[in-house]
C-alpha cells in the first residue's frame, strides 16, 4: 500500500530534471538503440555452435537483448518525467551493462582460462599452500595475546607475511611450469601478454563500456534526492542489487537450459545432428497405449497388438485376457519402478529417522557425537556409498550373506543366500535399504529440530494427567511435529521420484528392467541412445508427476498445518 502511494506521488509531483538527466537520457537512448540493433543482429547471425538446436539459444539471447533495449528506452521516457521508477530502471540497465562489459573484458584478458590454468598450477604446487595455514597459525597465536603489544603486532605481520609470500611463491611456481623457461621470463611474458590484450581495440572498448555503465550507475545512485527516493525504494534496489548475481546465474544457467529442454522435448534432437521440430510426437510415443483382447487359445501377443507397439503387461477380466500394448513400454516400467521405490523408501527412511531422533533428543552423554555419526552418510557421495553396499550385498564375498549364514549356523539351519542384486524380488529392497541408510541421518536432524520445538509443559501436563510415554507420543509429539513430518515426506518423495544415482551405481550391471527408474530411463534415452529430444520430454513428464504429487500432498497437509499454529 505504502509503495503504491509512493509511486502515485512520484507520478504526480513534478520535479526539475537534474543536471545529469540530459546526458543520461542521451546515454540510454544510445544504449537502447544499440541494444535494439544488437537484438536484430543476433537473430541474423548463423552461429555454427547453435545450429544443432535450431538457434533457439540465439533467439533467446535476442529476446533478452530486446527486453534490455526496451528497458533502456523506457528509462529515457521516465527520466524525462523525473520519475523515480525511471531512475531504478536506469540503474538496473547500467548495472547489467556494467556486469556484461566486465565479463567481456574478462574474456578478452583470458581471465577464465587464467583461472583454469591457475587451478592446474595450484594442483602441481600444492605443498606451497602449507604456508597459508602456517601463517594463519602465527596470526592466531598473536590474537590470543590479550594486550596490544609490539610482540603481537610483530607476530601478526610475520603471519600475514608468511601467507602473502607463500601465495606469491605458489603463483610464481605455477606460472613457471611447464610453459615458461623460468619464473622471471614467464612472469614478464605473461604481463606483456596481458597488457597486449588489454590495449587491443576490444580490450579498450570493453573497458570504456564498463566505465560508462559504471559511471551511469554511480550518477544515478547519487541522484537519489533529485528523484525523490524513499527509504523503502532504497532498500528495495539495494536488495535487488544483492540478488543480481544469483538472478543472472539463475537466468543464464537454470532458466535458460530449462526453456531449451522444453523446446527440445518437441524435437528429435540427438545431440549429434540438428534438431527437427516434431510437435508432440515424443509425448504421444510415451503415452500411446492400447488394450487388446487376446482370443482364446492364443498366447502370442504380437498378433493383437498394433504395429510399432510391444506388450507392456496383460491382465484378465472374467474369462477374457487383455494385453496392454505400448509404444514405449520401458517408460511405463520406469514409472512403475519409481513409484514402487518411493512407496518403500518413505516408511523405511522416515520411521527409523523419527525413532532415532527421539533417541537422540534425550539427554544422554555423547549424543552430539552420535548425531554427527548418524548424519555422516548424508554427506557421503552416493557412488562411494553404493560401492560399499555393493560389496556388502555381494552373494559370494559379501558381509550380509556371511552374517546371515553365521546366524543360521547357530540355529543349525541351512544358510539363506539371498541374491540381493540379481533377484528381481529383492532388487528394489536392496536399493531402498541403501538409500534409506543414507537419508536417515538428514531426516533425523530435521526431526530433531521439530522435536526440540515441542513444549515440555505439554508433556509434563499429560504426565500429571496419567498419560504414558506411548500416549504422549501419539497425542502430543506426533501432531506437533506434523509440519516437520510433512516437510520430510515431501522432500523424501521428491528425491525418490528423481532417483538415479542409487540405481546407476548399485545395480547398473543388473540385466533386468527392474533397475529402470524414470530418471535412469531418461539418461539411457539421452546419453546411450542419443535421443535427447525424447529424454527432454521424459524430463518434463517427470516434472509434471512431481508437481502433481507434491500438489496433492500440500492439499492433504491442511490438517498438519492446523497444529502448527
Amino acid at each position: 500500500m505504502a509503495a503504491t502511494s509512493q509511486v502515485r506521488t512520484s507520478l504526480t509531483v513534478k520535479r526539475p530534471l537534474p543536471t545529469v538527466g540530459l546526458p543520461l537520457i542521451v546515454w540510454h537512448l544510445v544504449v537502447g538503440v544499440a541494444a535494439l540493433f544488437g537484438a536484430y543482429n543476433i537473430t541474423q547471425l548463423q552461429i555454427d555452435a547453435l545450429e544443432k538446436t535450431n538457434y533457439v539459444i540465439q533467439y533467446f539471447g535476442a529476446a533478452l537483448t530486446f527486453i534490455y533495449a526496451l528497458c533502456s528506452l523506457v528509462a529515457v521516457l521516465l527520466i524525462l518525467q523525473v520519475n523515480s521508477n525511471g531512475r531504478l530502471i536506469s540503474m538496473a540497465v547500467n548495472v547489467i551493462g556494467f556486469s556484461l562489459a566486465l565479463a567481456y573484458l574478462g574474456q578478452i584478458l583470458g581471465v577464465y582460462e587464467g583461472f583454469d590454468y591457475l587451478s592446474g598450477g595450484l594442483a602441481r604446487n600444492i605443498l606451497l599452500m602449507l604456508g597459508i595455514p602456517l601463517g594463519y597459525a602465527v596470526v592466531w597465536i598473536a590474537w590470543r595475546m590479550h594486550e596490544p603489544s609490539s610482540t603481537r603486532a610483530l607476530l601478526e605481520k610475520v603471519g600475514l607475511g608468511i601467507m602473502g609470500i607463500s601465495l606469491m611463491l605458489l603463483l610464481l611456481a605455477s606460472l613457471a611450469t611447464p610453459e615458461a623457461d623460468n619464473v622471471i621470463s614467464g612472469l614478464v611474458g605473461a604481463v606483456l601478454n596481458l597488457l597486449g590484450k588489454w590495449l587491443s581495440l576490444n580490450g579498450l572498448l570493453a573497458t570504456a563500456l564498463a566505465a560508462l555503465f559504471g559511471a551511469g550507475c554511480y550518477v544515478m545512485v547519487r541522484e537519489a534526492q533529485a528523484f525523490g527516493e524513499t527509504t523503502s525504494q532504497r532498500e528495495s534496489w539495494q536488495g535487488w542489487l544483492f540478488l543480481l548475481p544469483n538472478l543472472l546465474n539463475f537466468s543464464i544457467f537454470f532458466a535458460g537450459p530449462l526453456l531449451l529442454s522444453f523446446y527440445l522435448s518437441f524435437t528429435d534432437f540427438s545431440a549429434l545432428s540438428n534438431a527437427n521440430f516434431i510437435g508432440l510426437r515424443n509425448y504421444s510415443a510415451m503415452f500411446t497405449l492400447s488394450i487388446n483382447p487376446l482370443p482364446a487359445g492364443v498366447t502370442d501377443a504380437t498378433t493383437v497388438i498394433p504395429t510399432l507397439q510391444t506388450e507392456f503387461t496383460r491382465f484378465a477380466l472374467g474369462n477374457q485376457t487383455y494385453v496392454v500394448g505400448a509404444r514405449d513400454p520401458l517408460f511405463w516400467t520406469s514409472v512403475g519402478n519409481t513409484f514402487r521405490y518411493c512407496i518403500l523408501l518413505l516408511p523405511l527412511s522416515i520411521i527409523p529417522a523419527l525413532a532415532l531422533a527421539i533417541l537422540l533428543n534425550s539427554k544422554i552423554p555423547g549424543m552430539k557425537f552420535f548425531r554427527a555419526v548418524f548424519f555422516l552418510p548424508s554427506v557421503a557421495a552416493v557412488v562411494g556409498v553404493a560401492l560399499i553396499w555393493k560389496w556388502l550385498y555381494d552373494p559370494v564375498i559379501g558381509y550380509i550373506n556371511y552374517a546371515l549364514g553365521t546366524v543360521a549356523s547357530w540355529f543349525g539351519i541351512a544358510p539363506p543366500e539371498p541374491q540381493w542384486l540379481t533377484d528381481t524380488n529383492l532388487l528394489l529392497l536392496s536399493v531402498v535399504i541403501m538409500a534409506s541408510w543414507q537419508v536417515i541421518g538428514f531426516n533425523t536432524v530435521i526431526f530433531l529440530a521439530g522435536l526440540q520445538g515441542v513444549p515440555k509443559e505439554l508433556h509434563e501436563a499429560a504426565t500429571v494427567d496419567g498419560a504414558n510415554g506411548w500416549r504422549r507420543f501419539l497425542n502430543i509429539t506426533l501432531p506437533l511435529i506434523a509440519p516437520t513430518t510433512f516437510f520430510i515426506v515431501v522432500t523424501t518423495l521428491i528425491s525418490g521420484l528423481q532417483a538415479f544415482s542409487e540405481f546407476f551405481s548399485l545395480i547398473q550391471e543388473n540385466p533386468t528392467n527392474a533397475k529402470l527408474t524414470t530418471v535412469y530411463y531418461l539418461y539411457q534415452r539421452g546419453f546411450e541412445r542419443f535421443d535427447m529430444g525424447y529424454a527432454s520430454a521424459t524430463a518434463w513428464v517427470l516434472f509434471g508427476m512431481i508437481f502433481i504429487v507434491t500438489l496433492i500432498q500440500f492439499r492433504l497437509s491442511g490438517r498438519a498445518d492446523a497444529y502448527s499454529d
Partner: protein, 443 residues
Amino acid sequence: MSRLNKISFLPIFLLIATLVFAVVPVAAQDEVTLRWRTRPDNQAEIDVYQAVSDAIDAEWEGVTLQYEPGNNEGSGYQNTLLNEISAGTAPDVFWIPGASVATFASEGAILNLAELAAGMEGFDGSVFYPQQMEQLTYNPETMTSGADSGALWGLPRDASSFALYVNLDLFEEAGIPTPAELQADGNWNWETFTETAQAIGALGDDIYGFGMNAWWANWWLWVNAAGGGFFNEDRTACALNSDETTAAMTFLSDLYGTGEGVPYGTDAEPPFIAGNVGMFLNGRWATPNTVAQAQFNWDYAEVPAGPNGQSNWLFWGAYVVNINSPYAAEALELIARLTSVDVQSQVTALGANLPSRAGEDAVNAFLNAEITAGKNNEAFTNALASYAVAEAPLWSANFDAIDGAVEPLVGQVLTDGTLAAEDFGTAACAAADPLFAEAAAGS
C-alpha cells in the same frame, strides 16, 4: 588489526588478481592447435597419453597439441562428449567406441577421411586388423567396405578380445587339468568347460566354477560359438529366433541353474579377485586390476570351442575427426601418429589393451610387455588373428535401444528362470524387431 588487514591484504589481493589474469600461457601465433581426447582406463594411461602428446607436439613443426584426458567409462566420457558436440566445443580428434561409429557417422558428427587418407603420403590402412578396418571403411550409401569403399571414419586406437582369467590355485586344489592343458589335448569345448566348472564349484559353497558379467558381448559370445547370431545377414532384423541361440542359452541356463556360475547380474570381478572363481570371462582391460589385486596364481586361457568352433570378439574403439574441425588434414595426421607402433607399444605396456596393428612388431611388443610376462598372452592374440569377430556398428537401427530391449530377457533366462531358454529367441526378436521397424520408418 582491521587496518593492518586492509593495508596488508589489498596489495596482495591486487597482485593475485593481476597474476590470475596474467598467468594465461602465451599461445604461439600462426600455429595449428589441435585438441584431442581419448577415454583412459586409469591415471597411468593418462600419463602415457600426455607423454605421447608432448612428444608428438615437440617434433611436429607448426602444430600444437592439447591433450584432454576424458573421463573414464564409469564417469561419463560419452556424456561430456555429447554435450560438447551439441555445443560445438568438441575436440578436433576424439575417441569413440567402435559400436558408436555408425551413430556418429550417420548423424554427421564425424568426418569421412577417405579422400584425405588417399592423398596422404604413406597412409596404409592394411596394417590394422582387417575386421576393424572392414567396419571403419563401411560406406552406408553403397553398403560396401574396403580400401576403395569411399569411406574411412577413423583409425582404431587399440583392440581387445575376451579370454578366461583362470585361478590356477583352484585348479590345483581340485586336481583337474587346466584349460590350457585341455586345449593342448584338443579337448577344450563346452562339455569339458562344464565339467571343469563343476569340479571347481565342488570345492566349496562359496566357490564358483565360472563367472561373467551381464552385458551383451558375454552371452552373445556363446550364441556365436553355437553358430547363431544376433542379426540377420544384412543386419536389418533380429536373428535370435534360431536353434543355435536356443542351444547357447540352454547351455548357459544349465550352467547358472546348477550354481556353477557367479549369479548373472552380479559383478563377477570382485569374487574372482577374492579367489572364489575358477574361470572369469573378461577382456584385456581386466588385467591391470588382476595384476594389482590377485593374491593367487593365475593365467589366461582361450574361450572353449562351441558346436560351431571357437568364437571371440574383437573389441575396439577409434580415433575420429570432429566434422567441425578446421584442421582435418592435420587431424588425420595426428591420428596416424597416435596409432603408430611406438605409441601403441607404450599404451599396451600398461596391460589394459592390445595394439590395433596386426603386424609382428606391434604384436611382439604386446607379448613381451613386462606386466604379464610369462602368461599365456597368446589367448588374446590367437583370437584376434584367427577367429575373433569385430563388434560392429549397427547402421540400420540403434544398437543400444535393441540391446536394452533384449538384455532383460537374457536376465530372465539366466537369473530367475522366468523365461525358458527355448522361448528366448522368439521373445528377443519380438522385442527387437519393432525397433528395427521404427528405425526404418524414421529414416
